[in-house]
């Protein structure tokens, strides 16, 4: 379990990262919690690694307008520690606690997870359910891709080889939004067999917006659109939750029901 030979570049700026990526055959090293395992098994043999851990500002996590902007060195742990407030912070907190175990959360990054696109990863479903905007940078310039279009299958995204996932912009959730996240897995640190997240905005006793994301339910992160539609416009009660869950096959319906129940009950 030793990697094949590779060249290593410790970038000091975004420009150096993009230069390295432009050369081809290059993978970005952020937390390394998936990439290094693959390299040790020689399943991944990048010619070059560009290490972004020393790039100033890449660890920035800030609210910009109506969005939370997350840089490429923000670790999973940042979302566990309550730095982000409001319903969005609450959802990210619940999700982060389900990612692997504390040592991995201390190293691994949200953007690394999004770019890696493991079907059982939690963050891609969050990005899709919340209509995140993915900001890709390359030597040619930056572009924004909607999260729904970003992931195209297991371990595949629209990111080109010369591009860096520079930021993710998550819209802040309205204050009257209740959130829930439920995951099924075999052991505490193993991959999700299946997980569901819910963010339900209730104004005047009526659901005005429902966002439901599913982890590991398809070849890419998906939204439970029928369940969202079933829930929207009516009261957020047991019958509505059951109706939303009934739009899904077993056991996805079970997890969605529980995630919605958690959101409604606030526990």
């Amino acid at each position: 379990m030793k990697p094949a030979p590779f060249e290593y570049v410790a970038a000091r700026s975004a420009a150096e990262v993009l230069d390295a990526l432009a050369g081809g055959g290059t993978r970005v090293l952020a937390g390394g919690q998936s990439l290094v395992l693959e390299m040790n098994a020689r399943a991944a043999r990048p010619a070059r690694l560009v290490d972004i851990n020393r790039v100033p500002g890449f660890d920035r996590l800030e609210v910009v307008g109506e969005e939370l902007r997350i840089g490429p060195l923000v670790r999973h742990r940042a979302f566990e520690s309550g730095r982000v407030g409001g319903p969005l912070g609450s959802l990210l907190h619940r999700v982060a606690r389900h990612i692997a175990h504390p040592p991995i959360r201390a190293r691994g990054t949200m953007l690394g997870s999004l770019a890696y696109a493991h079907p059982a990863a939690e963050w891609p479903a969050v990005a899709v359910a919340l209509d995140a905007r993915m900001e890709l940078a390359s030597a040619e310039g930056n572009r924004i891709v909607p999260a729904a279009d970003f992931c195209t299958g297991p371990f595949t995204t629209v990111r080109a080889a010369g591009e860096l996932l520079l930021a993710v912009h998550l819209p802040l959730l309205p204050p009257a939004t209740a959130v829930g996240f439920v995951e099924h897995r075999r052991t505490q640190a193993s991959f999700a067999t299946l997980a569901a997240l819910a963010a339900v905005t209730v104004v005047g006793g009526r659901v005005t917006a429902a966002r439901i994301g599913l982890v590991n339910a398809a070849d890419r992160p998906v939204r439970a659109a029928a369940a969202e539609r079933a829930l929207t416009g009516g009261p957020f009660d047991d019958a509505a939750i059951a109706g939303a869950a009934a739009t899904l096959e077993h056991p996805a319906g079970v997890l969605v029901r529980r995630a919605l129940g958690q959101a409604r009950d606030g526990d």
Binding site: M1, P3, H184, R186, T187, Q188, A189, S190, F191, P251
Partner: protein, 724 residues
């Protein structure tokens, strides 16, 4: 001293990272080896081209089978007549029989370079059909060893019950069980460092359980006198049965080191370790049990098809141990066991913590519980009606149980669990429509010991003592517990006694540590040696004091007669040794588990677990409890999480700990330990084996609890997320 909860001496270095494992040994000029391994599970090996390997910078040498004409075949560990015609070349030739079988060894300046070399190898294999299921493999069609049956060994124990027994019985229950393959998963995988010596001898540092056996095997394999081979076992990070063997890789490393006249080491990595060999368990079982209407068992039939992997050298005897323990704690008038050890295209198996006894307990304990359910009787009561109560007891499968009180252990387990509380909670949940819980029991008997062991005690003039043992700690705390035994006999502070073991140049003979045998046999040998030492010294003391031997008393390191005293140290140096061969012992116990099942997702959570073990006399309860907890966790692994899986082509799917799920601290339920104490009548120390019980008691208890929660006959139903 005996019975003291002494902290482990070895932990001072082990928990501070100051332990010395094989990977920490620094030998000048040592090279690292890696293996080119078979990319398919079964095939004709058409060619191994290493020419590009040898051109990789940093690679010193690369050898396939044809390059090492003096490579001896792999010796079996215990062979029930299974290896005749089925040689296991350390580097494959002719055929490959499991994925990952070594095909060539690459030696380089470091492991990175060695793996770069492996990458450059070209291995040509014409694939053959792959057999993974032992029952299908036993049926033939494809032969792993052309001209030979895939059934490498077949044995019967007991005799079939007459048709009338089955016809006339009030009830007959039948079931099939699967014992999935498990990976040993010691924290430290296998490791060996070989330094060829100028006199043609070898010094071998190895992570092992039986250094004297390895010395004997290596000497025989390479035509050396045993005293030319020195085997040293430094600190070992767990073994669990997977480090008793003389593995093919070890022979290849010795051959490479001798050929190159250079020290060479191989440090197995996690991927190799999970791929196996070794793997453990791997049995298909079919049972039939007849009983009267009160649940008294009349006949028990057990058919085992054991998957022993591509070569039967290390695993074929394990199902025989299962067979001989088939009836567990019960007096059953008619027993018939038919066992087949079957070669398949999976990695060879070997003993894994419990080594055949967990498989036996699983079958009988699941079946007894099934019997109780069918009869509508309490499962504890059915057990009570069938327990063996008179000892010694000769089983129909050929063992003599030395002592026991199975009913007492069961009562302690039920009381500690609070069975009434949990039954009430179960009823409450049923009435309320809440998530179901289930209660499961297991009463087990195991076997420990196996063979002789060497022990010696030396008194030194400085007042200290050295204990030499043929055992081999792989983490069990011998440095603490063995001195406790010796100090107890000598009446001195255990801190004055230092243990030496695990070096064949210092300890003249030995067997090792497996089968829970160290304290039972090695501890007893030290007890006898210390007793002999006192007897010898008493003679000397009598001479010094000019009194008859009978008039000399010994107390706390000194001899006393007529008000005069001679310290033992003044009579030193003195040495006494003993080789002790006690009969096998049969520790026992009772386990009880409560589980909660998520009825929608099938997830199982253990709410409560009680383990009652009877190990006879316990020398250091702290150490024994640690071992009990460790084996309980591994038992939970078998029950709920662990399992080696393959794809249809025989490629392992569980080559990382992301895929092979071990229980971790997060999965641990509340565990309560309790004991009964029935001393071993056959040794002066009274200790029986300890350390494997949790692996034996937990899986049936947990699976029985799952079955109880859901009212299922078969909790290994594919829809259940228990391990399989």
């Amino acid at each position: 001293m005996i019975g003291a909860r002494t902290l482990r001496r070895e932990d001072a270095r082990l928990v501070r990272g100051a332990g010395q494992y094989v990977g920490d040994i620094r030998v000048r000029g040592c090279l690292d080896a890696a293996f080119v391994r078979s990319p398919v599970a079964h095939g004709e090996l058409r060619g191994v081209d290493l020419s590009r390997v040898r051109a990789v910078p940093g690679v010193v040498a690369a050898f396939a089978h044809a390059d090492l004409p003096y490579l001896p075949p792999t010796p079996p560990m215990l062979d029930p007549g299974s290896i005749e015609g089925r040689p296991w070349p350390p580097l494959a030739t002719g055929r490959v029989r499991f994925y990952g079988e070594p095909v060539a060894v690459v030696v380089a300046g470091d492991r990175y370079l060695a793996e770069d070399g492996c990458d450059a190898a070209v291995v040509r294999v014409d694939p053959l059909p792959v057999l993974l299921d032992p029952t299908e493999a036993a049926a033939g069609g494809v032969e792993l060893f052309p001209g030979l049956s895939n059934v490498a060994a077949e044995r019967e124990f007991g005799a079939p019950a007459g048709d009338d027994v089955w016809r006339d019985a009030a009830i007959v229950v039948e079931a099939r069980y699967r014992q999935q393959r498990l990976a040993h998963t010691s924290i430290e995988p296998r490791a060996i460092l070989v330094r060829p010596e100028a006199d043609d001898g070898l010094t071998v540092w190895v992570s092992h359980q039986a250094p004297h056996r390895l010395r004997r095997d290596l000497a025989a394999a390479f035509g050396l006198e045993p005293d030319r081979v020195r085997v040293i076992v430094p600190d070992v990070g767990g073994a669990f049965g997977g480090k008793s063997e003389t593995w093919p890789e070890y022979l290849a490393i010795v051959a490479a080191a001798r050929r190159l006249h250079r020290p060479v080491r191989w440090l197995e990595d996690r991927r190799e370790a999970l791929g196996g060999p070794p793997h453990g368990r791997g049995q298909h079982q079919r049972v039939r049990l007849a009983a009267d209407a009160d649940g008294r068992i009349l006949a028990y039939e057990l058919h085992i098809d054991a998957d022993v992997g591509g070569y039967p050298h290390t695993g074929a005897f394990v199902p025989l141990a299962t067979s001989m323990m088939a009836t567990g704690a019960y007096r059953i008038p008619s027993v018939h066991v038919r066992t087949r050890a079957v070669v398949t295209n999976a990695a060879p198996t070997a003993p894994y913590r419990g080594a055949g006894r967990p498989e036996a307990a699983f079958a009988i304990e699941r079946t007894v519980e099934l019997l109780a359910r069918r009869l509508g009787l309490d499962a504890a009561e059915v057990r009570r009606r069938n327990f063996i109560r008179d000892f010694p007891y000769e089983t129909l499968t050929g063992f003599t149980y030395d002592s026991g009180d199975y009913a007492a252990a069961l009562e302690v387990a039920l009381r500690e669990l609070g069975i009434e509380h949990w039954r009430a909670e179960q009823a409450r949940r049923r009435a309320a429509g809440a998530w179901p819980i289930g209660i499961g029991l297991c009463t087990y008997v195991e076997r420990s010991g196996v063979g002789e062991e060497f022990g010696a005690v030396e008194a030194r003039p400085d007042g200290t003592f050295v204990a030499l043992s043929g055992c081999c700690s792989t983490g069990q705390g011998h440095e603490t517990s063995f001195p406790q035994v010796v100090a107890d006999v000598l009446g001195v502070d255990p801190a004055l006694v230092r243990l030496v073991e695990k070096d064949t140049a210092v300890v003249p003979s030995g067997v090792g540590s497996f089968a829970s045998r160290s304290m039972q046999t090695g501890g007893a040998a030290l007890h006898r040696a210390a007793t002999k030492l006192v007897a010898t010294a008493r003679q000397r003391a009598a001479e010094v004091l000019h009194v008859p031997v009978a008039g000399v008393a010994y107390r706390a390191g000194a001899f006393v007669a007529d008000g005069r005293s001679v310290p033992l140290a003044e009579l030193a140096p003195l040495r006494a040794e003993d080789t002790f061969d006690p009969p096998e012992a049969f520790p026992f116990g009772a386990y009880a588990a409560v589980v909660e099942v998520d009825p929608e997702l099938g997830a199982v959570r253990v709410l409560d677990l009680v383990a009652v073990d009877d190990y006879g006399v316990v020398v250091n309860p702290l150490i024994v409890e640690g071992q009990a907890l460790g084996s309980i966790v591994q038992g939970l692994g078998q029950a709920l999480y662990e399992g080696v899986r393959h794809d249809a082509d025989g490629r392992p799917l569980t080559l990382s700990l992301l895929d092979y799920l071990l229980p971790t601290a997060s999965e641990l339920p509340p565990v309560r330990l309790a004991e009964t104490r029935t001393p071993n009548p056959n040794t002066p120390l009274g200790a029986k084996g300890a350390g494997e019980a949790g692996c034996i008691g937990v899986p049936p208890a947990v699976l029985n609890a799952v079955a109880d929660a859901l009212g299922l006959d078969d909790p290994q139903d594919p829809r259940m997320p228990v391990a399989r």
